[in-house]
Every structure is written in C-alpha cells, then in structure tokens.
C-alpha cells in the first residue's frame, strides 16, 4: 500500500490519492485508518471512537478564545465610534488601566481556579501601598513614618503582604468557612485599618509622599534607593521622544508576515498532508509570491484609480497562485466536490445576512455622519450611525459565515460558492465605506483591510474546493500550526508595538497622539506570562486545578491541598503588593480608600476571561484579556463621548454575556472532545 503510493512523480501520487476514500460517504474511521496506513511519518494512530473536529472547533476549546474574540469585538466597536480610541494615546491609557487591573485579575483567576475568592484583594492594594509609604516616610518637622530606606521598606512590606495572604489562606483552611466570608472580614479589617492608621499616624486620610525621598534627599543624606527603584516601578516611555522615520515600513512588513503566518497555520491545520511533497507546487508558490511582490511595488510606484485596480488585481492573483501552489505542494487533492444544492439550511442565514447588510447600508445612508448633537441622553447621531452600521454589518458577516458553514455540510462546491458570494459582498461594503466615510481611518485602513479579508476568503473558497480536508488527528501538523500561530501573533505584536512606541516626524508636526507608556505594562506582561506558564506547565498549576475541581479527591490522592490554597492566597497578596508599589510610585500619595471595592472588577475580569466561578476551570491568559476588555470599556466610553456614568451598565452587560458565552463554549468544548 505504502509502496504503491510513494510513486515517482507528484502527479501520479495525486491520481493514486484520488481513488482513496477521503470524503463523502466514507466515515472518519475509514479515512483515519487509510491515513495511518499510508502516512510516511508515524502519525499517532487515530482512534475510531473520537470524532474529528474541524480546525475552528479545535481552536474554540481553549477558555481564553472567547475572551480574545470579545476583546477584538469591543476594540473594533470603540475604535469605530470614537476618535482617539485605538490611537497611541488612547492605547497607552487603556494599557495603563489594564496593567494594574490585569496583574490582580491574573492572580485572582488563579485563586478562583483553586476554588476560592479573595474579597480583600482590592483593599489590599491600597493598604500595601500605604504600608510601604509608612515605612519610608520620615519628613523633617512632620510626624509619622519609620524613615526606612526603600531597600528595607520594600522587602518589609512584601513580608507584610505575604503574611496577609498566609493569614487569609490559613483562616479559610482552619475554619472551614467559605473564603467569601473570611476575606469579607479581612476586607473590612483592612478598610478600617487603612483609615484608622492613616489618621492616627499622619493625621490625614492619605499617606504620602514617595517623591519626598528625592526632594529631601540632600537633607537626609541620600535618596534611600528612590533613584534605583523609581525607574523600575514608574519609568515612562514618551513616544514623542522616539522618532523613527522608517517605522511604517517595519509595521507593514511585520503585519503582512504575521498575517501570512496565521493563514499558513490555518492551511496546515485544515488540509490533509501528502506523504510526498510535490516540488512543482513550491515553484508555483514562488511564482505567486513574486507576482504579489510585483503587484505591491507597482501599486507603490503609481497613482490613479485604474492603476490601483490593476495593482490590486495583480496582488490578488499572486495570492491565489501562491496559496494554490502551496496546497499543490503539501496537501492531498479533493476527489469528491459534491454538487451545488440549494437548501433552506444555508439559504435562511444567507438571506438574513444579506438583510442585515442592507439595513446597515440603509442606516449609514439615512443618518448624518457630521451631526455630533445628542439624539438621546446617551449617544449622538454620529455615534448612533456608527453603532448601527458596525453592529448590523458585523451580524451580517456572522450570518453569512454561518451560511457557508451550513452549505459545506452537504458539499464543498456549495460552500465555496457561498463563500465567494460573501467575499464579493465584503468588497462591495468596503467600497461603500470608502465612498461614505469622511475619516481617513475608514477610507484607507478599513478599506484595505476589508479588501485583504475578501481576497483571503476568495482564495480560501477556491483552494478548499480542490484540496482535501483532514479528518484525522495529525499531531506534527497541529504542532506546526500552533507554532505558526505563535509566530504570526508575535509578528503582529512587534508590528503594532513598533507603531505605538515610535512616532514619525509627520505625526509630531500634526500634533497627533502624544502618548506615555508606563513600565507597569511590562510588569503586567511578565506577571501574566509567568502565571500562565506556572498554571499550564508546572506541578503547582496542576494542583491548583485539582484543589479547585475536587479538593477532597486531590487530598486523598496526595496533593497538599491546604498548602496549595495558602500559596494561592499569598500569590494574590503578592500581586496586591506589586500593584500597591506601582501606585505608590505613580501617585506619590495614596488615599485610604484606594482599591476598596475593586475586588469585584478583578473577579469580573477573570470570569470574562473564561474562569469558572465554581473553580477548577479557567485561564490566566483569559483573565489578562478580560482586564484589557474592562480597561477598554473604561476608556472607550468617555472617548466615544458617552456619559461615563453608564460604564457600570456596560460592565454588568459584559459580565452576563461573558458568563453565558463561556458556559456555551465550555459545554460545546466538552461535548466535542
């Protein structure tokens, strides 16, 4: 079997493949056995009892995916309805809020996965900042404070923090009471102690000031470590100081490479690999890439409508040839394309999608884009138009994708045709947006992104028509796919990060978007990264899931359940210490009420990120994304010129939606496992 298949030339291999059962009536089991018999690499033997899931279903299993999709939607929403949101300045303030919230949310998510809550986490951030300030405070002529060096004060307040976590954890373990009650008590104790001690010692309801260390350094013989620690906790990156003329070149290249890697990952995870590569396909791919690059250069060098159209056509053709060649090179051809059939199953969502798009266009035409007067207490006509258009067009897109999915159940041909129609509609909407919109954001960026998406969809529709879907697990291919996704995401981060961190002379002249990025964002990324690694890969992480999922069982098996819980409480109080320190260096003065009540925001962020309230399930990465969503809401609502009193309505709505969506995704994920 294997000998006949590994024929001399690629075309023969393909024709041999055509006869093998890949699709249609032959069950997944047959395809799987076929594959494991013929695959040259020792693919892990597929089990006929596992139904194979498609590439998108496989991605949805992770708890943070829902949060990532929600974050993208919220971002697009605020970006399209507000002027400054999404520019460097707006992004800086979103990240600033997200960082302190996110550090806490990640720690709280781990605690919640471990099955406990900490209601004192919010008050603890302010309390620990005050503790640090009390230790360093020693102003000539003023009362209060120990006057310690930061070298001593910071470790001391960290010890206080860990002691607080240890106390919470031990109380919960020893008393056997719900952590809700125990930490509610800690919350009140902290809240009262902050106020009491502040009044007792400094006779004020605020404690300060960190930068006195620097101001009075001369009187006190040195700055006591302020010069060392200030940059660590409060350094800022002012983008107007960082001009880089060729920034946009790197941005464009990084985003294009990132996009390509993501698409390659999709191909790798979707199609069935050949056991013998076809080098002719590689040549075709290279020709396609060359055509694409030629198109870009042509577009870059010319101007005018017809030249743009020609350039776009060349790029599109290059993409098609490139990806088709790639598939010829690596993947098995599809023998049974099915026949085109019209069924209500896909026709209904297709019609609904068309209707939604039509309504979106109607809304955009009938409302005045320039009118920034309030039509209601909440929103301007301009804003209403944007909301209606984005919402309806988004719903239309989802419905059309649903239609193509349903159409594909019967035959690949139908799916491809529906997908091509959808791509055509995306192009039409792109041109509509360009003709209607006044802002350059829509006329150039959104327009070209939509054209690129339409092109990728069209190419996908054509390639899926000629190459076979993989219906059996292939671990090496999935691993390569994940690697490509990671690489693509990294390229996007590099590209967008460069664009945010550096400016170009033209922007400075126009006075666009001055922004200061704080080092606290790095702390956030570092903390989230370390926690994610610990939770996913370490022994301790496994134990966290275990004690949250079934404490008694894990204890019986030999997991130190009580110790794990105490360590989790200590992790939360460590995070509170970190946030308190960041606040102390940023604000110099900390109010006695700082942080009170924020514990619920941490919990919301964790839940939005896919963490179960019942414990035993969740993701730190999701919690980090949840914190970013909350920060986007906090910054987006005022920047869309809405009344920010409504922020909490938005938060409540998001929480409810998130819980419902997560529950749905989780049950689907478990059902399809």
């Amino acid at each position: 079997m294997a000998d006949t298949d590994s024929a001399e030339t690629g075309t023969e291999t393909e024709s041999a493949r055509n006869t093998s059962p890949q699709n249609g009536e032959s069950g997944a089991a047959e395809a799987a056995t076929e594959a494991s018999e013929t695959a040259s690499t020792p693919a892990n033997a597929a089990d006929e009892r596992i139904a194979f899931r498609g590439v998108f279903a496989r991605m949805l299993v992770r708890p943070e995916i829902g949060a990532a999709i929600a974050a993208t939607a919220v971002w697009i929403f605020f970006w399209s309805v507000s002027g400054v949101f999404g520019l460097a300045g707006g992004t800086a303030s979103v990240l600033d809020v997200a960082s302190t919230l996110g550090i806490m949310a990640v720690a709280v998510a781990m605690l919640m996965i471990g099955g406990e809550f900490d209601l004192s986490a919010g008050a603890a951030t302010g309390a620990l900042g005050i503790v640090t300030l009390m230790f360093v405070r020693d102003i000539t002529g003023e009362m209060g404070g120990a006057g310690l060096s930061l070298w001593i004060a910071l470790p001391l307040s960290l010890a206080v923090a860990l002691g607080l976590g240890w106390f919470n954890g031990t109380m919960v373990n020893r008393s056997g009471l719900p952590s809700f009650i125990v930490t509610l008590a800690s919350f009140f104790i902290l809240k009262g102690a902050k106020l009491g001690f502040a009044k007792l010692i400094v006779d004020q309801i605020q404690v300060g000031k960190m930068d006195d260390l620097e101001i009075f350094a001369a009187d006190r013989g040195g700055d006591k470590g302020y010069g060392f620690f200030q940059p660590i906790f409060a350094a800022e990156w002012d983008r107007t100081d960082h001009v880089w003329e060729s920034r946009d070149f790197l941005y464009t290249v990084a985003c294009l490479v990132g996009l390509t890697l993501l698409v390659l990952a999709l191909y790798e995870m979707r199609f069935a690999r050949k056991d013998k590569m076809n080098p002719a396909g590689l040549a075709v791919t290279l020709a396609g890439i060359a055509a694409g690059i030629g198109g870009v250069l042509y577009l870059h060098g010319t101007d005018g409508t017809s030249a743009n159209a020609i350039g776009a056509a060349i790029i599109g053709a290059g993409m098609l040839i490139g990806f088709f060649g790639l598939a010829m090179w690596r993947y098995q051809p599809l023998s049974d394309k099915g026949s085109f059939s019209v069924s209500p199953g896909w026709l209904a969502p297709f019609g609904a999608g068309l209707g939604a798009l039509a309504l979106a266009v109607l809304a955009a035409r009938s409302l005045d884009a320039q009118n920034s007067e309030n039509v209601t207490f909440l929103v301007t006509e301009q804003g209403l138009r944007a909301i209606l258009f984005v919402g309806l067009a988004g719903a239309g897109a989802v419905l059309l994708l649903m239609a193509s999915h349903r159409a594909g159940i019967g035959s690949q041909l139908t799916r491809s045709i529906v997908l091509l129609c959808t791509a055509g509609l995306v192009v039409a909407i792109a041109f509509f947006i360009r003709s209607e919109s006044a802002s350059p954001k829509f006329r150039t960026e959104v327009f070209s992104i939509m054209l690129a998406i339409a092109a990728l969809m069209a190419v996908w529709a054509i390639v899926t028509l000629f190459f076979a879907e993989r219906r059996y697990p292939d671990a090496p291919a999935d691993r390569l796919g994940r690697l490509l996704i990671a690489g693509g995401t990294l390229m996007f981060i590099i590209g967008v990060g460069t664009r945010l961190l550096y400016t170009v002379p033209a922007e400075i002249e126009a006075g666009i978007s001055p922004a200061k990025f704080s080092v606290r964002t790095l702390w956030f990324l570092l903390f989230a990264g370390v926690c994610t690694w610990v939770l996913g890969r370490s022994k301790f992480g496994s134990w966290v899931f275990a004690v949250g999922g079934n404490k008694e069982a894990s204890r019986q098996i030999g997991v130190p359940a009580a110790r794990t819980k105490v360590q989790l409480f200590m992790l939360v109080s460590f995070a509170a210490w970190l946030v308190g320190t960041l606040l102390a260096f940023r604000l110099n003065t900390i109010q006695a009420s700082t942080g009170d009540g924020e514990e619920f925001e941490y919990i919301i962020a964790a839940v939005v990120g896919g963490t179960a309230l019942t414990g035993g399930y969740g993701s730190t990465l999701g919690a980090a994304i949840g914190a970013i969503i909350m920060a986007m809401a906090a910054q987006g609502i005022p920047s869309a010129r809405w009344n920010s009193d409504w922020r909490f309505v938005f938060l409540g709505g998001i929480l409810l939606l998130a819980v419902i969506a997560n529950n749905f995704i989780r049950s689907r994920a478990e059902a399809t496992r």
Binding site: D47, R49, I50, W533, R537, S538, K539, S542, W543, F545, A546, G549, N550, E552, A553, S554, R555, Q556, I557, G558, V559, P560, G616, Y617, E670, R673
Partner: protein, 273 residues
C-alpha cells in the same frame, strides 16, 4: 460466631493484619473488635449493609482516621497513619467511589496528580507531558483498559472507566494494598463485571486488594476472604472455603430477618396467584 476469626492463617506474615480494631466518635462506637488480614495476591472483601462501619474501617486503613483500639500491622510492623499521604507512601492506596477523580481535569493529569513527572531544575520545573501521556495510556492498556484519548476530561468517562483509571493509577504508583470503596455500587451489570475483572487483574499482579461492597453477588466470585460488619461489630471473618454465597447473604442482612422476609414475600406472591 466470634471464634471463627483465627481459622485459616496462611504461611508467612500477611500484608495487612488487623486485630480487634475499634474506633469511637465521642460516646458513639463506630467500630468494635474487627479482625481480618489481607494477603498479597488475594482479595479480602468487606461486606456490610449501610451504616455497618465499612467507611470508618477503610478510612482507618487509608490514614484518614486513626484507630482507638486494637492493633494495625503492615507487613508485621505496627503502624498508625496521620494522613492519607503517609498511608500512600507505605503502599496503601484507596480508591473512593465518588472522590477518586477531578472531573474537569484530563485523564493523564488525573493519573499523575500529586506525583507528576517533571523535567528541569527547581524552580524551573515543568511537567513532562509527553512521558506522562504515554505512560498513562500504556499503564491502562496493561490493565486491559483502552482509553480513547488521555486529554479528555475524566468527567466525560463512564463510571466504570473512572474506577479503572483510579485502579491503574494505584497499581502504577506501587501500591501494595489497594482499597476499593464500593466500586460497583453505582454501576450497571456489565460495567460492574468490568470493574470486577480489574480487581482480579490487580490481585494477579501481586497486590493485596480490599474490596468493600454491600453486594454479596459481587464479592463472592472475586473474594478470597470475607469480613462481615454489622452496626460496627464484626459478624465474622471467613476464608472462601468456610462459607457459601447464601450464608454470606444471610449473615449480612442479619439472618433471621431475611428468612422472615422471604416467607412473607412468598406468601404475598402465592396470594396474588
């Protein structure tokens, strides 16, 4: 009835030897004068109706509780465990009916929970996933258990499969004595058969098995020794050659009462006819 205890003493020291074990919760006598032993490669069944003291008995063996009276010898040495971990370290593994697994965690994580294989040096130690998955699959295959996918959550397994994962885990981690707490009580007929086969399989591999059940029909085919408890008291400790299944059933339910019940039932049925 009490002097049937010291009958079939085997050659060499038994794995576990319990003499006159008693346990009190305040003034409540939960367990009194229980005597039995467990040999390597043999199955000792503990039978009793609800409230007979079976749970207290196994919790003492597994280190969850400590005995107040009598002698508990492991391989000839008197012991007293303060925690399940201690008992586990000495080779006594308990598999509880509903507490055995963390349902949302994958099969391989459950299999290695508490004893994960790691790579790297502290503090940079990570779980060796590939080894863990392969070992879990292989070990379960050795017990004759074919698991679909070690990544699937244990909660999606059937009751019998869950028990079998727990048994395979205990065997792999070098248990000498395996305590099974009512492994068949929540299962259907076929699944119970599967679990009973794993019990025999575990005994064949040289483990001493303690099988707690209230179903004599499950206990008799696999057991080599039967300890019968009733209201915290030992009703006897028999070798297989000393007792028949019918006698076992009779003893468990308190003899005379069951006979009376049978009589009444027979009368009711003939009345209907």
């Amino acid at each position: 009835m009490t002097d049937t205890e010291s009958t079939s003493s085997s050659s060499g020291t038994p794995l576990l030897e319990l003499t006159n074990i008693g346990k009190f919760y305040g003034n409540i006598i939960a367990l009194n004068g229980v005597t039995t032993h467990v040999e390597a490669g043999k199955v000792t069944c503990v039978l009793g109706d609800n409230g007979a003291g079976k749970s207290t008995f196994i919790k003492i063996l597994a280190g969850v509780h400590q005995h107040d009276e009598g002698e508990f010898k492991l391989e000839g040495e008197a012991v007293r465990f303060n925690s399940p971990r201690e008992a586990l370290d000495r080779g006594i593994a308990a598999v509880y009916q509903d507490l055995a697994m963390v349902p949302l965690m994958s099969v391989w994580r459950n299999f290695f929970l508490g004893s994960e294989p790691t790579k790297g040096v502290w503090p940079l130690q990570w779980i060796d996933k590939a080894t863990a998955k392969a070992t879990a699959k292989e070990e379960m295959a050795k017990m004759g258990i074919d698991i679909r996918d070690t990544e699937q959550p244990v909660g999606t397994l059937s009751g019998g499969e869950r028990q079998s994962v727990a048994i395979a885990r205990a065997v792999y981690f070098g248990a000498k004595v395996l305590i099974l707490d009512e492994p068949t009580s929540a299962l259907g007929v076929k699944q119970s058969g599967v679990v009973l086969r794993y019990i025999v399989e575990a005994a064949k591999r040289g483990l001493g098995v303690i099988f707690i059940t209230h179903n004599p029909a499950h206990a008799y085919p696999v057991g080599d020794r039967f300890l019968i408890l009733n209201r915290g008291q030992s009703m006897g400790n028999f070798g297989k050659d000393e007792i028949s299944q019918q006698e076992l059933t009779k003893l468990m339910a308190g003899g005379a009462e069951l006979e009376q019940l049978q009589g009444e039932l027979a009368a009711a049925i003939s009345g209907v006819d």
